[in-house]
């Protein structure tokens, strides 16, 4: 008779994977390469590709427009912002605190066909919209193979 010993850590790992599945890939429950170290929270993001542009929508309630930065570098789009506390109020009297404050940073690798000069960002009702127009298609260059 042989005794089968199961590694408890393997069970834990399995449990964690199952929990990840239950939570359905919610941004809060997932390790994500788009999340940057030093980020206190992580906004939910949709990215849509249209024929002539990419559109990104990010839920960033309570962030002031002047605290948002959008930048494009080497095909990587970075959105960064900070949610500050409502400063005029004291910190006393809180009975419930679920809101996360501080900095968020997320990076997305985009095809380098985006025209960085024409990127536009607007905010409305706590949603940041970034429009990333695609660059004019470059003619594929044919390279002749010399005999």
């Amino acid at each position: 008779m042989s005794l089968i010993v199961r590694d408890p850590w393997q069970l834990l790992d399995q449990w964690r994977k199952e929990m990840d599945q239950v939570l359905g890939g919610h941004p809060m429950a997932r390790d994500d390469a788009t999340r940057v170290v030093g980020s206190d929270w992580m906004p939910a993001v949709d990215i849509k590709e249209e024929p002539d542009r990419f559109v990104l929508h990010a839920d960033i309630p309570g962030v002031q427009p002047e605290d948002i930065e959008v930048s494009m570098d080497n095909g990587v789009l970075t959105i960064r912002g900070e949610r500050r506390h409502e400063s005029q109020e004291s910190t006393e009297g809180y009975k419930r605190l679920e809101r996360q404050h501080g900095v968020f940073i997320r990076r997305f690798a985009l095809p380098d066909s985006v025209d960085a000069e024409r990127i536009a960002a607007t905010g409305n009702n706590g949603v940041l919209e970034v429009s990333l127009p695609k660059a004019e298609k470059q003619q594929p260059r044919k390279i002749q193979v010399k005999a």
Binding site: P8, H26, V45, D46, K48, K95, L97, E98, N125, V127
Partner: protein
């Protein structure tokens, strides 16, 4: 100690750690985790159908509640709505906020690469620490944050009893 016993103790410890972690997560996040049900018109066109199918059914609606001498102030992060899309009620000692985050009707077709935002109808109930006078309540919506101010009911607002020395 037998291997089996060691294993069992190891499992017990691991389980306790898990439970502690789970409790923390529950306290911090699951109260804010809110179910989003498909709203009206969500299946009107192909793009919106695709987005609804791909988006998570749960979203975080984080709240904070602050109480001072005269009022209870509740803030709720609910981005992407218009002020008239909220329905706010006070039932006994519970504030109920419901609304619908609609999928925008867009002319241009496309496909989604990333879908993390939740859409549809939601309802969030937040227990209040004291009786409030809902007839004097007010609410405003700025930058995706709903603020509801609920003045305390007169019979609890100034119940401060001075202790006389003798």
């Amino acid at each position: 100690m037998s291997t089996l016993q060691q294993l069992r103790e190891g499992m017990d410890r691991a389980w306790e750690t898990l439970q502690a972690g789970w409790r923390t997560l529950t306290q911090k996040a699951t109260q804010a985790l809110t179910l989003f049900r498909p709203g009206e018109g969500a299946d009107d066109d192909e793009d919106r159908r695709a987005l609804r199918a791909a988006s998570p059914g749960w979203g975080l609606l984080a709240a904070e509640l602050r109480e001072d001498d005269g009022e209870v102030c509740v803030r709720l992060e609910a981005p992407g709505l218009e002020p008239e899309q909220f329905d706010i009620q006070v039932l006994e000692r519970i504030l109920v906020v419901s609304g619908e985050k609609a999928i925008a009707r867009e002319e241009r077709r496309g496909r989604y690469h990333l879908t993390e935002r939740a859409y549809g109808r939601f309802e969030r109930a937040i227990p209040l620490p004291t009786d409030v006078d809902e007839s004097r309540a007010s609410a405003d919506y700025r930058r995706g944050v709903l603020t509801v101010r609920l003045p305390k009911h007169p019979r609890v607002a100034s119940r401060r009893i001075a202790v006389q020395g003798g």
